[in-house]
């Protein structure tokens, strides 16, 4: 990521992700603030994913569980402006905190499934995540440096998308990149992979909302 892209990320008054934060704050005030104190949200994004009634959920899914069960309102669609803005706003409350995904006997099997998925070859190009992101990070792929693929800043403002997007969207992008048919949004396959990726990035500081090429 270049110096200029970094500067866009650090611009907290007029960076490209700022509008999503403003919208997220608005949504928070209108939907969530009645029950939740914003101070309590500090640290949540840093320790997510988590188990909810024995099912592994990411932050987007947890927001929707609250929405449908507590607010009795329709769930936000995946990648909708509302959901991205709200998760960006929530993520920002943990900005600067180290990623601290909780590991315990219950999340263990999900982590294992995620680890397997990370090492699973897929697609017409028959590549597994680890082949690029563990074995060849730092090298150039079609003129672009291969990152280590740590999801430290999601949801991100991606210049390629010219807008905000979730980790799932990025994983789908990767799958399309290796010519694999991506799973549907919300699929359990993504969720375990997200858990593994966050665990793999443990200790790294959360940068939500990040700006990426």
């Amino acid at each position: 990521m270049s110096r200029e892209t970094r500067a866009m990320q650090d611009d907290d008054k007029t960076g490209p992700a700022v509008l999503a934060l403003l919208e997220g704050e608005d949504l928070w005030k209108r939907n969530c603030a009645a029950c939740h104190g914003i101070e309590k949200m500090k640290g949540v994004a840093a320790r997510y994913l988590a188990l909810h009634r024995e099912k592994l959920v990411n932050l987007d899914q947890r927001i929707n569980i609250c929405r449908t069960e507590q607010q009795k309102a329709p769930a936000f669609a995946y990648e909708s402006r509302e959901l991205l803005s709200l998760s960006a706003f929530l993520g920002k409350q943990s900005k600067g905190m180290p990623i601290a995904v909780q590991m315990d006997p219950q999340t263990g099997p999900f982590l294992e499934a995620g680890r397997k998925a990370f090492h699973q070859r897929r697609g017409q190009l028959n590549l597994a995540c680890n082949q690029c992101h563990d074995d060849n990070w730092g090298k150039s792929l079609a003129g672009t440096p291969i990152p280590q693929a740590h999801p430290t800043g999601y949801p991100i403002y991606r210049l390629e998308w010219q807008g905000m997007g979730s980790l799932q969207r990025r994983l789908r992008n990767c799958m399309i990149g290796v010519r694999a048919e991506p799973y549907a949004y919300g699929a359990g396959e993504y969720v375990v992979l997200e858990l593994f990726l966050m665990w793999r990035a443990r200790g790294m500081k959360l940068e939500t909302p990040a700006v990426r090429p």
Binding site: M1, S2, R3, E4, T5, A7, M8, P16, L141, A142, G143, T144, I146, L159, E160, W161, Q162, R172, N173, C174, I176, G177, V178, E181, P182, P213
Partner: protein, 156 residues
Amino acid sequence: MTTRREFLLLSCGALAAAGAQAQLPPKVAAARAQGLEEALRRVTGGAELRIGKVALDVPPLIDNGNSVPITVTVQSPMTAAEHVRSIHIFTEKNPQPNILAARLGPRAGRAAVTTRARIADSGRVIAVAQLSDGSFWADNADVVVTVSACLEDGFI
């Protein structure tokens, strides 16, 4: 005449660069280079376009052509008697060459404008300033645009 030579330098240099790193079919690249020349002419009205006074700040290697930060500054006291009237930014390889045209004046204090542009392909970015005395000055820079290795290819 120096001025016409310098003007040609801008456009011929652009065409040469186009040949060297052509990712566009030659006809398209030539059409776009011509579009740029016409756009420049529309601003200057055919008047001399001199290189100098203008500083174009754009990263030489671009992460993603969808959002390229560009800053143009012009040396000028920005007084009522001597100031920059307008700053125009162009790029060579886009389907149409104009990016932004800013109107300033002595109330600006400094002649500087920043924006984020879409640059379709490696090539030249050109900034032109019109001064209060009617003269035109320019700066240009060569940029290399990289694309994401894995594209999304639309929604699936």
